[in-house]
Subunit: 421 residues, 2 copies
């Protein structure tokens, strides 16, 4: 297709605006957005996207674990197609754009094509992926991992962090099929997918700081997480327990976290790619008191890097520091196992094509995990475009301008039209 034709086509931004408004009103809970994985919030978002797809006349299907596939048939139907995907779930008290923007982008791209009367060369499917966030079930990429039969069947017994129901019980309640996960059934054939494209809001401040509307992703950081770390000491009277006799879980946990911050700074200085976070920490509310030395803390250690070696080194340092500080503070750290997602490289050919479509080309690593990592892991050429977003993500203040969203969606639409078949 000549460039002159594709340049006159635009994504349907009016549709995008309506969908974002509907998502916000249907899935808001208090201050933030709550689209709980495999819960009512995520389901409401799926229902909304499905209705929009049906209005557009797309072919709609739902796979065994609830991923929603909305397909614009191509001129040739037997050749590998293109997927535009992202997830619809959110963290507790999250924002409206993390995940959903990628699905909305796909629909606005397809609506724009239909309005222009253009049929793509191959099928283009918008995939609304389930349960990317690990906040509800303690595992990332349930939807994309499950689509390729990659999940450990033991994940079916993981309980949701809020209501305690297992993934298996939760799937059955939605009339979905946990056997697909148990049998490691492949619901999508990687050979049937020519490319996976994902638009996502940037979750850090880089594009805002640089004054750019969008950027192309080079690689996705992996994540190594101690999700259920604990420190076990002994409760005692705060005034009457001298330092020499204390088994203070808070003091020991503070020492561990402070040490790991210094490890992060040292890694940064050595040029390694790393982010380290403990975003949850708490003493036991049924046991703690202002006049008690604490006997127990719970906390999370979240380690991310584009390098497996760096993540392994920091996790190992956390384990050995926990042993050393456990002796020093007369407590016991139980860090538990890590949940791991590996780093993923984006496809160089698609990256170059997207860079050529941006007026202000810019490349950057992704600090957060994305479903694109799963598609890359099964050998599908994958690419991501980040859209500028103020205030970070995973919070109620996510702030994406529609004009910036349009820059990203337009790049995806043109990539599809100009795809080098």
């Amino acid at each position: 297709m000549p460039a002159s034709i594709s340049q006159s086509v635009e994504p349907d931004i009016d549709l995008a605006e309506r969908l974002f408004a509907d998502l916000s009103s249907r899935t808001r809970k208090g201050v933030g957005i709550e689209r709980d994985s495999y819960g009512p919030g995520e389901q409401a978002a799926h229902d909304l996207m499905r209705a929009a797809a049906e209005t557009l006349g797309l072919e709609v299907s739902i796979d065994a674990i609830g991923n929603l596939l909305m397909t614009q048939p191509g001129a040739a139907r037997q050749v590998p197609g293109i997927l535009i995907g992202s997830h619809l779930d959110s963290v507790p008290q999250g924002g409206n754009y993390d995940g959903a923007a990628g699905v909305v982008a796909g629909l606005s791209v397809l609506s724009g094509l239909r309005r222009a009367g253009l049929t793509p060369a191959c099928d283009v499917t918008v995939m609304a992926i389930r349960a990317e966030e690990s906040a509800w079930f303690d595992v990332s990429y349930l939807g994309s991992g499950g689509a390729f039969g990659l999940l450990d069947p033991n994940c079916l017994s993981i309980r949701r962090s809020d209501n305690g129901r297992t993934l298996e019980e939760t799937l059955r309640a939605l009339k979905l099929d946990p056997e697909a996960i148990r049998e490691r059934r492949r619901l999508l054939d990687p050979k049937s997918i020519r490319a996976y494209l994902e638009l996502h809001i940037e979750q850090g401040p880089t594009l805002v700081e640089r004054g750019l509307p969008a950027g192309v992703v080079t690689a996705i950081r992996g994540c190594k997480r101690f999700r259920n770390a604990r420190c076990l000491g002994r409760y005692g009277h705060s005034g009457a327990t001298e330092r020499a006799y204390r088994q203070d879980a808070v003091a020991a946990t503070v020492a561990l976290l402070h040490h790991l911050e210094s490890v992060w700074i040292a890694q940064e200085k050595s040029g390694a790619d790393l982010v380290f976070t403990s975003g949850e920490i708490y003493t036991d509310a049924t046991m703690h008191a202002p006049s008690k030395v604490s006997g127990e803390t719970h906390f999370v250690l979240d380690i991310r890097s584009v390098s497996n070696d760096t993540m392994d080194a920091v996790a190992e340092e956390a384990r050995s520091a926990a042993k050393r500080l456990g002796r020093e503070y007369r407590v016991r750290f139980d860090l538990g196992d890590t949940s791991d997602s590996p780093p993923a490289l984006m496809d160089s050919r698609l990256r170059r094509a997207l860079m050529n479509l941006l007026v202000q080309p810019f490349e950057m690593a992704s600090g957060a995990g994305h479903d694109a990592a799963t598609f890359a892991a099964v050998g599908i050429p994958s690419a991501m475009i980040f859209v500028r977003n103020d205030h970070g993500s995973h919070n109620a203040e996510e702030s994406m301008e529609l004009a910036d969203f349009a820059v990203g969606a337009r790049a995806l639409q043109r990539l599809i039209l100009e795809f080098p078949f």
Copy 2:
């Protein structure tokens, strides 16, 4: 009274054993003991003591704010009397002996005197004091402070930490009289009290470590507490927010607590008396997630010393470090005001008398606050005896042997009989 007579009298340890068993069965909640200040748990303990006093034939009265006074009339009734007191409330999930042991000791002393047919020279009153613990209402010594009209009337609007009811509402529900506090009414005349004596379990490990059944208290550490400290940062994505852009409330709080531990160590090295504790810390459970940089923490800073100057210096250091680290971590600390209780010296004459009554005389500072500090503050000669107790206090594992309790109660009883009138 000749020493030969007083040496043949013993406290009623059978009564003490029964009272401890009844207290445990009536105020146990799950693993620990819960005698909530001005709540059903504390009231059950008061009812139990009152019934025991009536069985013994003591004169019973209750003051306007619920302190229970149980009096053995003396040979002379118009001269100043002796008070044996302690509190009956406990922290949440506390132990059976903290506080209650002092009231039970008083009753076992008086029961022993009656069994021996001995009348003390002056009235001896066992005072079961209300609400010593600050875990429920955020102020210490409500019962003893209120008895001397010392409470700030604003305390009536303090809300109970669990049910949110104000102290005033709580007192009215028990048919007690908040006006006594509002008018700063003096319910007890210091001139009518010759001496205040308090037996209490030791709340640290010193007597256990030294193999001693009991010890005499030299001074009570004061307490300066930031009860509602917060750190306010900004939520963000844990993977995508680089260190330079973070406003991480957990990292900043860790830095502050780590710094204050180093302040403690330095004070110890300089010979100052100090204990420092943060026994409560938590991120916001409705907002935090493993993949979020935390935007808010809540924590307590508890500073204790026998020296006001030391407490002031550490509190000032906490404030200035909070400012400095707030800038460094791009967050805002809101430490709030401190609630203060001053240190208190015990009466030297009573201390010497108690030391002479112990087979293994031993003196030590009290790390925890006690009602005795209030009595000392209004000029009443006050003394305390500590009883050996394993596993510290303010927890379910408090462990006091009756034989050790008897050593302490016997010393009190003999002090009363041999009191230098």
